[in-house]
């Protein structure tokens, strides 16, 4: 049994067999196949050899063309190595006689040759290693295709999952996942929470310690991953899982009750969504609206840009399903770790994507894409209660430019006689420190504000939200972040402007009382957090919250703030176990 610690990004407990994806490293544990499966395994090996040879041949041809025969010959020799009948015979024997898995057979045979090569000091030792890696990648990597052909529940383990890969996991079968890299604020983490399956990221090297089929436990609350747990541990987590289920049922009972404090202060609880499919859960949990519709997922994993109709369809689906409750559509926030597969013209590799051409900057650079989205949003505003929001606004100029383009698109629709809401509320995300410093100017030019703590924390503390090595610095509870939030709320209050907080922080129970105490009357939370946050609101008074906020703001560091808040939560809302 092995216990590994990572970063918890989506709560819950999952117990089940692992599915290891795309192994990139050098060593897999030795695995045997079940008796009777040997012939099938040989077939699997043969297919992998064929696929690998095809890939090598392609590389050979490409390289020969671009760099000349001399370099292409390297790949040709790799190709020939995989035709070596003695090698293939050895591999087959390892599988048939010793029941090794194809991967283990490849490892063992290639290691033997590597040893020989090392002894004779062959310059081609590297080639052996390369071919071994290729074969292992093909054998293990083929499972990415298998993700679409699952027939039983699995827990996915991978080096990394991009946001769009995460979004495409079939949660009927994928019951949780673990990645070796990744940070707490990354978009993969956000999508995991949206999918409502337990997930742990940044666990470090784990793929060389687990094989597909091994039983794994994912503790999405503590960020623990347990490989091949013993019976006691399994029993313990089965009990935990049952308790969580019971709690979820209890919280569900609150779904049609309002998020109102004991002293009668109504908190508007909105939800963050990535896909229209999540709306169902939001409604079931009594969300007061959608505070953040992350529209970039319409772009991810697509080979061609979604056209206006695709946008319009998705937006109106959400708007209609929410039946009159507000839906805030945020224009695309692409760039950074949400790099799309779209070939945008003139786009080069960015060295600093988080600080680069992303989000509103990308929109303002690629106007046809921006205008398409704005048109669809405006058209959707005629079908229901819609608000529009611009992300990552850092200067007044940027905001004004964006509004000008919106006005332009409105004119176009006017000319074409297409209906839209002329009084469409237009707001901005407050997520860049510069925007907070200038917030007194911004409040004169928008209809509402939304504090995006995911990026605000990143930019304020200069911490990469996707980097597990500095994850410990990424703290919503940092006093610097709290001061910026407070300043924004204050500026909004002076102008009587609606303001909410839509980062992951809003869905984290320990911050609810603090945020309410700081003056927020609207929170936009991940849909899975709606029941919990509502329960907290209903169990406290606004006065208590203000007292807590006042004290928290005097503390000097993130850890003290967090401990204090945790203590207060346990004190005032003990019935909800956290």
């Amino acid at each position: 049994m092995k216990k590994l610690q990572g970063i918890a990004v989506s709560s819950g407990v999952a117990i089940g067999p692992a599915l290891v994806l795309d192994y990139e490293g050098l060593s897999l544990p030795r695995r045997l196949v079940m008796p009777g499966q040997e012939a099938l395994e040989v077939e699997r090996l043969n297919q992998a050899v064929a696929v690998t040879c095809r890939e090598i041949a392609t590389d050979r041809d490409t390289v020969s063309l671009e760099l000349g025969e001399k370099y292409g010959a390297i790949f040709e020799s790799h190709f020939q190595i995989l035709q070596d009948t003695k090698l293939l015979g050895e591999l087959r024997d390892l599988i048939l006689r010793q029941r090794l898995s194809a991967e283990s057979a490849v490892q063992e045979a290639m290691r033997r040759y590597a040893d020989v090569f090392e002894k004779i000091q062959s310059r081609n030792l590297g080639d052996i290693v390369d071919i071994e890696r290729r074969m292992l990648k093909t054998l293990v990597g083929r499972r990415r295709e298998d993700l679409s052909r699952l027939d039983a529940p699995v827990l996915v383990l991978a080096h990394n999952l991009t946001p769009s890969e995460t979004a495409n996991l079939d949660t009927n079968f994928v019951r949780g996942f673990v990645t070796e890299i990744g940070g707490p604020g990354s978009h993969t983490a956000i999508v995991a929470a949206a999918l409502e399956i337990p997930a742990v990221v940044g666990i470090g090297a784990v793929l060389d310690q687990v094989a597909s089929g091994d039983i794994v436990i994912i503790d999405g609350d503590k960020g623990l991953v347990i490989v091949q747990p013993d019976e006691t541990t399994i029993a313990h987590y089965r009990r935990e899982r049952e308790q969580l289920r019971k709690q979820a049922v209890r919280l569900e009972a609150l779904s049609d009750k309002p998020a109102e404090t004991k002293d009668g202060v109504r908190i508007v609880l909105l939800a963050n969504i990535e896909f229209p499919a999540e709306v169902e859960h939001c409604i079931a949990r009594g969300a007061d609206g959608i505070g953040l519709y992350r529209t970039e997922f319409l772009y991810l994993g697509q080979a061609i840009e979604p056209d206006e109709e695709a946008h319009f369809r998705a937006y109106t689906l959400v708007v209609k399903s929410m039946g009159g409750k507000p839906v805030t559509i945020r224009t695309f926030d692409l760039g950074a770790d949400k790099t799309p597969s779209l070939p945008l013209p003139d786009r080069e590799e960015e060295r600093n994507p988080a600080l680069g051409q992303r989000s509103i900057r990308l929109s303002l650079r690629y106007l046809p894409m921006f205008r398409t989205q704005l048109r669809a949003t405006l058209r959707a505003s005629a079908t229901g209660n819609v608000q529009l929001m611009f992300p990552l606004i850092s200067t007044l100029h940027e905001l004004r430019q964006s509004k000008m383009i919106l006005a332009d698109v409105m004119e176009d629709l006017d000319e074409a006689g297409i209906p839209f809401n002329r009084d469409l509320p237009v707001g901005m995300m407050v997520e860049v420190p510069a925007a907070v410093m200038m917030i007194d100017n911004f409040v004169d030019e928008v209809d509402f504000l939304s504090i995006g703590t995911n990026d605000l924390i990143q930019y304020t503390l200069a911490v990469d939200r996707g980097n597990k090595d500095v994850a410990w610095l990424y703290n919503a509870s940092d006093p610097a972040v709290l001061k910026l939030i407070a300043r924004t709320i204050e500026a909004a209050r002076r102008r009587s402007l609606p303001v909410n907080l839509c980062g992951q922080m809003s869905g984290s129970p320990i911050y609810t009382m603090l945020l309410v105490g700081m003056g927020l009357r609207q929170l936009s939370v991940p849909s899975s957090a709606l029941p919990e946050i509502k329960a907290i609101c209903r169990n406290v008074t606004a006065t208590q919250c203000e007292h807590i906020a006042r004290h928290a703001m005097t503390l000097e560091n993130a850890r003290d703030v967090k401990s204090y808040l945790r203590g207060e939560l346990t004190k005032w809302v003990p019935e909800l176990e956290f």
């Binding site: 001399k70 010959a73 390297i74 040709e76 020799s77 020939q80 190595i81 035709q83 070596d84 009948t85 003695k86 090698l87 040759y113 020989v116 090569f117 002894k119 004779i120 000091q121 062959s122 310059r123 081609n124 080639d127």
Partner: protein, 104 residues
């Protein structure tokens, strides 16, 4: 230098020739050299086996050729069998002598 005439046997139209060759190039019988040998032999109707210190490797078996450890200065036998045995043996010997036509 190069290869000299070795043993010649004739069995049922199958000529069998053995030549002794020396590896002269700096990198020895590495992947690209082995590739050159394999490609050359493929053009003929013959089977060629390299033998070094008792270890045998057919030219169709890239991995086995590389496992011979035929570094610079080593001598080995080239056994060729087939109707064109002599031509092939000459060609292979020539290849070795010319350092596999590689730039060094």
């Amino acid at each position: 230098m190069g290869g000299k005439t070795g043993i010649r046997r004739r069995t049922m139209n199958q000529i069998s020739i053995t030549r002794t060759v020396t590896v002269v190039n700096r990198q020895g019988l590495h992947a690209r050299a082995a590739l050159a040998v394999a490609n050359l032999v493929r053009q003929f109707d013959a089977k060629v086996t390299l033998v070094l210190d008792g270890q045998r490797a057919e030219t169709t078996e890239m991995l086995q050729m590389l496992s011979l450890g035929a570094g610079q200065g080593r001598t080995m036998q080239v056994e060729s069998v087939g109707p064109n045995a002599e031509t092939v043996a000459d060609a292979v010997a020539s290849l070795f002598a010319n350092k596999f036509y590689e730039e060094e």
